[in-house]
Amino acid sequence: MYLSASADAQQIRWAEQARRNRQEIVRALSHGQVSRRDLLRWGVFTASGALVAKNGFSPFVGNAHGAIPTGVPSSPKFGAIDFSAPMPRCDLMERRDISTLTPTPRETANTTPVQVRGPDGVAVTGPMEGRPPGPMWAHQGWSNFSPRIAVEQWQRGACNCDDYHPGVDSAFNCGIDPKVPVKPCFHPKMAVQTEQSLWTFSGNAPPKLLLGRYGEPILFRHHNDLPAKVTSNAGFGRNTISTHEHNGHHGAENDGFTGAFFFPGQFYDYHWPIVHAGFRTINTTATDPRCGAPDGNGGITKLPGDWHETMSTHWFHDHMFSFTSQNVYKGIAAMFNLYSSLDRGNEAINDGVNLRLPSGTAKDWGNLEYDVNLMINDKAFDKDGQLAFDIFNFDGFLGDLMMVNLTYKPYFYVERRKYRFRILNASVARFFKLALSNGAPMIQIGNDGNLLPRAVMLSELDEMGIAERYDIVIDFSDYSDGTKVHLVNLAEHQDGKSVAKNLSLAEALSGKSADPCVGRFLEFRVRGTKRAIDKSRDFSQPGGMVLIPNPDLSKIPIARERTFEFNRGASQTTRDPISSALGPWGVKTDGGATLAADFGRVSALPKAGTREVWKLVNGGGGWDHPIHIHFEEGQVLARDGKASNVPLWEQGRKDVYRLRPGGSITITLQFRDWGGMFMEHCHNTVHEDNAMLLRWDVNANGNAVLTPLPTPIPKPTGVEFLAPTETLRTA
């Protein structure tokens, strides 16, 4: 797809013109000047979502003067050399006492009138807080789980980071001096991003990391400080946002529902109670130390709930309806480490509960010296080096520059001991398949937010879909000082539909792949003439690989089975101008029609307190979908109909389920503790935006009758509510 380095000047000119044409369309879509329906009507896109095979538009069509595809111009690198920049640790979000937050957070939305920016940038009077008002969107559990920690962030355009907090000494951070301002660029030689090109938390890099612990509810106040005009976006992205904590167990009002977005000038208070699932019914008197949190003094605060449901590695990102892909790509993504008595981030405390995973020892919890977050994704630039988003079709956008923690192909110093890496696939449409350049073994300890029942030793990880997290342990003990080992991507793409080919390690390292994001992308540089002190878990000991077993659901009856099939060829049955989307992708529920997204449509209504089995089916062989279900974790029961097809690394709990081409996956979930409207969608966010998303409600009021909830329709002047546009008969 990307032009090779040997492309001639004429090819590059044609490709650049085609890209400008496409970027004009992206810009107009993001500004609301045209709609997807317009583009279909004009013949810009085919009914199946493909860019019309047209000279001067499609990168896959030969130019008028020859048969060679125009391709896509490669992103300029301005002389940046691979592995010449240090990889920065994530920047810790500041945690404050809740009493410092002004105005004081409220159970229901704060509707104090303020000036709110509409799409044209003109201020109108609207509510201070963008959360839908009233009791239905009040924070569930507000009294029982009063927030104790305030985290206040401003979503804004790119600026320097003058206050970088990596959470570790610079010796553990490649010598990066945190007092030196960090410019918003992906490499020292690359262009500094403008405030319209890159949007992120506090507007700056490195990507943000929030540390939280169970039993310590957080109030995340997110201010929308993005450019007021919808057109001030460098041609992509939308300045209305909704923040999804992936995959928090909390009420829907705090889940970043795609239709609960808010405008520049507003904030939204997200209340994250940080509880173990099942707290209302299991271990209610909090007697089990395995269900707990670090108490700050080397001990454990016991908490109610099911310790089998302990989670570890989350992230949060934008979820704006129809613009998730553009906004997340633009930078609205951060990571979130959750700490518990089992996974407390202190490898030395040996209390019979703590799993002592690689972390550090200085603090009671949350040590990061040997616990490293890696946010990996692919980006692309325009000719000026500014972040650029392109459309080829609705299959998925692929960049040609590999980033780790928003740094182009960096290096990272490691000591001669074990490290934990929390790897997040934060791409828009790209899958990864990772290995070390020398084939050395890794121990996979976690999948998505959950530590596995049993860790697995592998040389090649499975493909990672978008939004999946793999926690792995790498042991650098036996390397000599100065050794360089690389993290390698084996998954070769040609387009955003799915991986075209899994390469062997030799193929990936050969440099012959046409996919610029295949091969080495992160360089570990080993330092130390002798082994470093390592007090973390010895996996070789008996039971050393045993982590967190799954909850036993065998005695919980299955209340309902549902089937969701993810297809092309969606039809539109509702017409709401805000809540409905148009696109080639859709979801077929329980044998009905394949429907394009409408967040006003309720596709499933599980009853609170029950368990269901959901079968997720890939309706095609030419694409893959990583399907994400909000709110509840699931256990994989079968792949392609058989339990024996479930690989070891999927035998824990997950929240993103990669279907594989032509495949199906059967999972079981419980629905409990909280209620509201949640989502299920493909996390190839271009598929999601075009329109592979559905809404499901769980009404936790305990009523016998399952009642679909009114849909919020945000406007700068306030949120209106409409009845659901549709409730499926099978819901």
């Binding site: 000047q33 062989g621 032509g662």
Partner: protein, 166 residues
């Protein structure tokens, strides 16, 4: 400069954030064709050299396969192999240590008349990462279109172990 959209007279004034839609029925995708091959066990018999000793590997590599057609885009069929090394066992000739593997790998590639698929996997005494060694399985895949969906595999070689010390 007249842009593509200017020429269409298409841009209109700013509207409220949202997307105008209408009922539009799009063609429904065709169900993918997935053919599952019979499970295969590939015998392993190799003598490898790790950093510390020679290791005799025996046992079976279990391979299951799927061929996935793409009737929607008419892209070439894909071959998916799930390779399970759990049946491979090694014995160190010096230490008599027993090396086992729990590794699996899933490889998806375009279906070709002939392909060689390499997969790297670790073996260790139990879960002793410090004593693990790595091997490379090379699986030859032959596809005979005339006979229909016929898949045959054989192990070409198990090269000497690649020590993970550089």
């Amino acid at each position: 400069m007249d842009t593509y959209l200017d020429s269409k007279g298409a841009k209109r004034g700013l509207t409220a954030a949202g997307i105008v839609i209408a009922a539009l029925v799009l063609p429904v995708g065709v169900w993918a064709v997935v053919v599952k091959g019979p499970p295969l066990s590939l015998p392993v018999n190799a003598l490898l050299a790790s950093v510390t000793e020679r290791i005799g590997l025996t046992g079976q590599v279990a391979v299951t396969s799927r061929i996935i057609e793409d009737p929607d885009f008419h892209a070439p069929a894909m071959l998916e192999l799930t390779i399970n090394f759990g049946g491979v066992r090694g014995v160190g000739l010096s230490t008599r240590s027993v090396f086992v593997s729990e590794a699996q790998t899933i490889v998806r590639r375009p279906l070709l008349p002939f392909d060689e698929i390499e997969a790297v996997f670790p073996s260790a005494p139990g879960s002793d990462l410090g004593r693990a060694f790595v091997s490379k399985a090379v699986i030859s895949v032959a596809y005979n279109q005339a006979s229909g969906l016929l898949l045959s595999t054989r192990v070409v070689s198990m090269p000497p172990a690649v020590a993970f010390l550089p």
